[in-house]
Symmetry: C2
Subunit: 225 residues, 2 copies
């Protein structure tokens, strides 16, 4: 498992629970990272854990986060502390005949490692562009790009994708043999994150063709399975 | 802010970034906890943070998580370690005229504190029922309840809701005055988590009236705003 197509499991990324649902496959991991855009970032302060929701983008084998220089995550990055980034796509609820076997269908990724603060303006600008394009493909051409002062006052935090794992569950409930005849409905209720009707802030409200385009892309990406 | 309707802010739950979006209001916090059912749990192992997606349920001022006794979280609970539970509802993407002011509409809750392992079978069974009912109201009457061995082999982890905060953003983009005339579409694209067509596991596929009921409740709870 040390080839280029798989991340090598480390002590702490070795699956113990339900390893049959785990994978280190790079394509599987990147497919999840490229579909979602919200992550939960864990860091440690005075020995206690904190978990913060954040947007992210990926460029190659690097994950980028952003925020204020005064945020706690920027502090962590200044001293290259370990963080954990978890990305979760919830695909459905799994209804079994027994309460115990209720479950969820999901695809999730966990990345652990030391983060850093990006210093060069060029890399920062690339990361900002990636963030906007990742969430709204095409939008960078359709808004005012960050100026020098905005680039400076924004903290960009990078995390190399090196210790990474994915876990995936799909398919029907897994009831025990002896429960299969119980008179309860069982099955999967698919769930998906879908965009609704845009609410314009412009007085005229007209949405140009190209804005409709990235909203359509957002819809395509988040289809109910 | 030490009345019964608000959680008292502690050093570590005091908002520093965008405090105008923060609240300690109990009703606001419980409304978010009651709408979502997925959380991200942070814990610390060998000084590094880990973040695990999990289901949860609330009974009064107590949050319940569940899993295997062999999970890392059950280990943490056995020795009453500090964890952080974060719940995030993503309500929309906020498209501003400037890249910088792009944002998200959201409602999120963060709870920190020491967790424990629930020992009494009675409380465990209540928590299991709450978990099923929280996600699928009515479903406990419609599946086989856990038997003694299933109760025993499942770890139920409790976290008192004591140090808790919520952060909420809603409404249009907040572009700078001088950007308002830029020729770009701006506004909000609402997002919501919606259930699709159920996929039956039963050979006949028929869904009884009461199953349709909790799926309808799931739909009502997760309307596109
Ligand atoms: C939507 C969703 C809901 C879930 N709900 C529950 C629940 O209610 N109860 C429950 O017990 N479990 C739940 N899980 C599974 C949970 O995330 C953990 O996988 C499980 O609890 C075992 O945790 P552990 O730390 O003991 O795992 P271990 O197997 O000890 O973890 C070792 C390593 O495996 C990898 N790994 C573990 N879990 C994941 C993951 N989810 N994604 C990517 N890599 C991973 C990481 O590298 C981790 O460091 C849920 C998962 C998802 C995606
Ligand atoms: C969907 C979503 C996406 C986000 N994306 C980004 C992003 O890309 N970049 C970014 O910088 N920020 C983002 N945020 C905000 C982020 O979660 C933090 O609030 C922010 O980064 C400040 O973090 P901090 O630890 O420095 O905050 P501090 O203000 O120092 O936090 C102190 C205390 O305030 C409370 N608190 C802070 N944040 C939250 C929260 N979200 N919910 C409940 N309580 C909270 C907690 O008790 C915390 O311990 C996002 C939030 C949401 C909900
Ligand atoms: C609607 C209710 C429930 C949901 C949505 C749910 C969901 C889940 C999920 C997603 C997992 C993780 C499985 C994985 O790692 O892939 C899990 C694990 C587990 N659940 Fe549940 N669950 C529910 C109710 C219950 C109940 C009532 C019990 C006990 C009676 C239970 C016992 C367990 C146990 C023991 C595990 C650990 C499995 C392992 O790590 O080997 N669950 N649950
Ligand atoms: C589509 C792209 C983007 C999205 C979805 C987004 C989303 C967010 C969100 C949700 C927050 C948290 C605000 C809060 O705490 O309520 C945030 C903070 C921030 N964003 Fe962005 N952002 C995007 C692009 C950018 C860009 C391109 C820049 C810089 C040029 C930027 C600069 C900042 C800064 C500086 C903060 C910190 C605010 C503070 O804590 O005071 N963002 N972003």
């Amino acid at each position: 498992m040390t080839d280029l197509n798989h991340f090598a499991p480390s002590g702490r990324t070795t699956f113990k629970r339900k390893p049959q649902r785990g994978t280190y496959d790079r394509d599987a991991i990147y497919a999840i990272l490229d579909e979602a855009f919200l992550c939960h970032v864990g860091f440690v302060r005075e020995k206690a854990p904190f978990v913060i929701p954040m947007a992210y983008a990926r460029i190659g084998d690097m994950l980028y986060l952003h925020g204020s220089h005064a945020s706690r995550l920027a502090d962590e990055a200044r001293t290259c502390q370990e963080i954990c980034v978890t990305v979760t796509l919830l695909d459905g609820l799994v209804l079994a005949r027994s309460a115990l076997h209720h479950s969820m269908n999901y695809r999730s990724v966990m990345i652990v490692g030391p983060c850093s603060l990006v210093k060069e303006n060029e890399e920062k600008l690339l990361a900002m562009g990636a963030l906007v394009e990742h969430i709204l493909p095409g939008r960078t051409a359709d808004c005012r790009p960050p100026d020098d002062s905005e680039i400076r006052r924004t903290a960009i935090i990078s995390l190399p994708i090196h210790e990474a794992s994915a876990k995936i569950r799909s398919g029907p409930p897994e009831d025990a043999e002896e429960d299969l005849a119980l008179p309860f409905w069982a099955g999967v209720v698919p769930l998906a994150f879908v965009p609704g009707m845009p609410v314009p802030d412009n007085p005229d409200g007209n949405m140009p063709e190209r804005s409709a385009l990235y909203i359509r892309k957002l819809k395509e990406r988040s289809k109910v399975r």
